[in-house]
């Protein structure tokens, strides 16, 4: 426990890939400044961490908890609740915690589908007895436990209340440091704000030329040699820029790849997919056969909601319907 008045920070990963932790490490020399300004009470990617230590803390002992990863297992949920109780400010850090990210596409399938595919159906798996990993398991020497694999992926904000969110898969290093500086300086905006990003959409700062060209056909990125100076969408290549919050610096677009929306929806937009769909509709040639054009967008749900399915209105409706049943 810290014996001084330094800021107390915690960084935790739930169901995540580690990229958000690497993103924190990517602040480089600023890590030393962070160490000077704050005590990092725990950071399992980088420091000693014991659940019992957190359990022993008084409530609200941690000033700011940066929580990355979504909630997929009973262990993730347990820790999210524990950290919520122990933290004054909880930040959903990175796309998984904020909106479910790409692993949230697993919500298109149920738990049983996933377990069957992974452990029984994959062609390299030899599993004549149909074994599936179990929360409790007896081995000859004793008992072993595994966390329960839940039915769906949830952003952490759906499991416990969070004060702020930081978008990005992962958040870019300069933005991460900006967020940490604001935390250190005690200059956080009103609760509910999205930190470490702009308010508007990516197109507002994109250097690609938009000349009002209307789309007569949608194509996939590998099917054409795109003009590197022109707007992707006006070339008929789906780009999530119009429905994505600015702040990443457009690294993907700069190397000739369309945005896929990892920074989530811009300020004031709840459903990123619906917003992107309306942006797509707006560029379609009015004389074209809209139905045919839209059918050229393959995998609409996985494209429009690549990073935000778990946090979408679509998902809410699905869960509400499941509850009614």
């Amino acid at each position: 426990m810290a014996k001084n008045n330094k800021l107390k920070i915690a960084i935790y990963w739930a169901a995540s890939c580690g990229g958000c932790d690497v993103a924190v490490v990517e602040i480089g020399h600023n890590l030393l400044k962070l160490k000077e300004a704050a005590d990092i009470l725990f950071w399992p990617a980088a420091m000693d961490f014991k659940y019992s230590d957190v359990e022993a803390m008084p409530d609200k002992h941690i000033d700011v908890c940066l929580f990355n990863g979504s909630v997929r297992t009973s262990e993730n949920e347990h820790i999210a609740k524990l950290l919520r109780a122990k933290s004054k400010v909880m930040v959903a850090f990175g796309s998984c915690a904020y909106e479910g990210c790409i692993p949230g596409l697993a919500n298109l399938y149920n738990r049983g589908d996933i377990l069957t595919r992974v452990y029984q159906e994959t062609p390299s798996t030899e599993n004549p007895d149909g074994v599936i990993p179990q929360p409790h398991c007896k081995v000859p020497e004793g008992d072993l436990d595994l966390p329960e694999f839940y039915e769906s992926v949830k952003p952490v904000g759906m499991v416990v209340p969070v004060e702020y969110s930081v978008p990005g898969c992962p958040p870019v290093a300069s933005q991460v440091w900006g967020v940490l500086e604001a935390i250190i300086a005690g200059k956080l905006p009103p609760v509910g704000a999205v930190l470490g990003a702009g308010d508007r959409n990516l197109c507002e700062e994109c250097e690609r030329v938009r000349d009002g060209t209307k789309v007569k056909q949608f194509v996939r990125p590998h099917e054409v040699i795109a003009d590197p100076k022109k707007c992707f969408l006006e070339q008929g290549i789906v780009c999530s820029g119009p429905a994505t919050r600015a702040g990443c610096g457009r690294p993907c677009i700069r190397v000739g790849m369309p945005c896929r929306g990892c920074y989530g929806p811009p300020e004031g937009v709840k459903d990123q997919g619906a917003k992107l769909l309306s942006a797509i509709m707006a560029v379609i040639d009015p004389e074209a056969d809209v139905e045919q054009l839209v059918s050229q967008i393959v995998d609409p749900v996985g494209t429009l909601y690549r990073f935000s399915l778990s946090d979408s209105l679509l998902q809410q409706i699905k869960w509400q319907e499941a509850e009614k049943k």
Binding site: D48, F49, Y109, E141
Partner: protein
């Protein structure tokens, strides 16, 4: 006195989540069995169904934020195969160049931040010093700043080609999205020259600090850290190591070629076992068979690590790395080397190779060609892409419909290859240090850590970054599952023991 005791080390951090080790002791206090569990699953093999195959390089890289570039490359090679498209030579070279810069960055991270501090700072040093800052203190600020510079530069190189270091983009079925300008090429060449120097510096450091220390060498060669297994690695046409392309070669515990297979043949040679106590599967050689967690020629357990790649190849394709490769086998008594801890040395030889290979490619007159795309024309159907990830051979297998939307996905991931050997190494290390009547100490924690750290920083992703603590708690339970003792290590590396009553 209880009949059996379970020791649980939890969490030991990362492989797609956390890990835990359970050690069961018999009534005499001897280790009967250890279980290494991965308590997390995300299900990419299911939810990628329905996605367009050209998006897989951008989707599957979210499997691991430490080695996203490896998934990016395996995915794009599988997507090429699905579309039966052969990218122009420059596109392949650009991909391979990005991949080799990534390898330098990744291997450097492991040696200087994750696993290497055990040696550089010393296995007996306080854990609080076994981290990057401890490394800098040991090697001096001059070399330390070169390490930080090398990491920054290689991250920049990957970003020049792929937009960003974590989750790069820029590959498409049939090629890459952006050519390399002359200005970029010159910067990449400069960075690559730095990588070659850095590789040599790292090997010199290893020689001075590790190889000149008899105690370290004895530890590397000791039985506690040895397993005689099969070894796997990707090789080119002359059986030299290649990370981006080639055939998978497997040698037996005597070093003889057991099989060499192309990506499309992987299902004839690799099978995966499921155990109910962990979410991670156990790959093994199908034609040898699963005989349990044992080594030797009759067991299908194989390893896929930097050491394995050296064992599976006949040599390295670049001159400086080849010279070190020869020295490596000369010093360790010929091929194959079974010493798990020699993986650290092999990793540095690979780091040097990556630097040399990146430099070759950055100087290749074709690298700035703008002929970087072949538009796919064939009907997509099925394809397998294999690359070497830093942590082992990585296989992506896709089956699509006629529009290129995925119907089936199968993934055999880098570290997964080593799941069984890691279990075995952890067990052997535990058996070596836990003796009846001898208290369980820091030594256990350290040696058990070292056993798996040699394989894979994915377990310890940034574990040592700051301030260098491996998060470890050992819980001893009695046969009814009651907690007897908790052994834990504080941030200064002190080990404390608390009895159940104190908790």
């Amino acid at each position: 006195m209880t009949q059996t005791t379970k020791i649980r080390i939890d969490p030991i951090t990362r492989l797609e989540g956390h890990g835990s080790i359970n050690i069961f002791l018999d009534k005499a206090g001897k280790v009967v069995k250890t279980y290494f569990q991965i308590p997390e699953l995300r299900g990419f093999e299911k939810f990628c169904e329905g996605r367009p195959v050209e998006e897989m390089p951008r989707i599957t890289q979210r499997i691991c934020g430490v080695c996203p570039t490896a998934h990016h490359m395996a995915a794009i090679k599988a997507a090429d195969a699905v579309y039966h498209v052969d990218p122009p030579p420059t596109a392949k070279k650009i991909r391979e160049m990005m991949y080799n810069f990534f390898f330098v960055a990744d291997h450097a991270t492991h040696f200087y931040i994750l696993g290497g501090p055990d040696f550089v700072v010393g296995p007996d040093a306080p854990p609080a010093e076994r981290n990057i800052f401890g490394v800098i203190a040991k090697v001096g600020l001059d070399i330390g700043s070169k390490v930080i510079q090398a990491l920054q530069d290689t991250h920049e190189a990957v970003a020049i080609i792929g937009g960003r270091y974590i989750n790069p983009v820029g590959t498409l079925p049939g090629g890459v999205s952006k050519p390399i300008s002359e200005e970029e090429r010159a910067r990449l060449e400069q960075i690559a020259r730095g990588c070659v120097e850095f590789g040599q510096l790292s090997l010199k450091l290893f020689e001075d600090i590790v190889l000149k220390n008899k105690q370290y060498v004895a530890m590397i060669k000791s039985d506690a850290f040895t397993h005689r297994t099969y070894y796997m690695g990707l090789v080119d046409e002359q059986n030299r190591t290649n990370f981006y392309d080639g055939k998978v070669r497997v040698v037996d515990p005597d070093g003889k070629e057991f099989v060499k297979y192309g990506p499309n043949e992987y299902l004839q040679h690799i099978a995966e076992r499921v155990e109910p106590w962990t979410y991670l599967k156990f790959p093994y050689l199908k034609n040898v068979g699963w005989k349990g967690f044992v080594d030797g020629k009759d067991s299908g357990v194989y390893r896929a690590t930097p050491l394995s790649r050296c064992n599976a190849a006949d040599g390295m394709a670049t001159p400086l790395a080849q010279a070190h490769y020869e020295r490596f086998y000369h010093a360790l008594g010929g091929k194959p080397v079974h010493a798990t801890l020699a993986t650290h040395w092999a990793r540095l030889i690979e780091l040097l190779y990556s630097g040399e290979r990146a430099l070759e490619l950055a100087c290749d007159p074709e690298i700035t060609s703008t002929n970087i795309r072949t538009i796919p024309t064939a009907t997509p159907d099925e394809g397998v892409g294999i690359v070497e990830a830093p942590r082992g051979t990585l296989t992506h297998h896709y089956i699509t419909d006629e529009r290129g939307l995925l119907r089936k996905v199968n993934l055999v991931v880098g570290t997964t290859n080593n799941h069984a050997p890691i279990c075995m190494s952890v067990q052997k290390a535990a058996q070596g240090v836990i003796q009846p009547g001898k208290p369980v100490t820091q030594g256990l924690l350290n040696q058990v850590e070292m056993a798996f750290r040699a394989y894979d920083p994915c377990f310890g992703c940034a574990t040592h970054a700051m301030p260098g603590q491996m998060p470890l708690t050992i819980k001893l339970h009695d046969e009814d599952g009651r907690l007897i003792t908790v052994l834990s290590r504080d941030e200064n590396g002190r080990v404390t023991t608390r009895n159940a009553e104190e908790l």
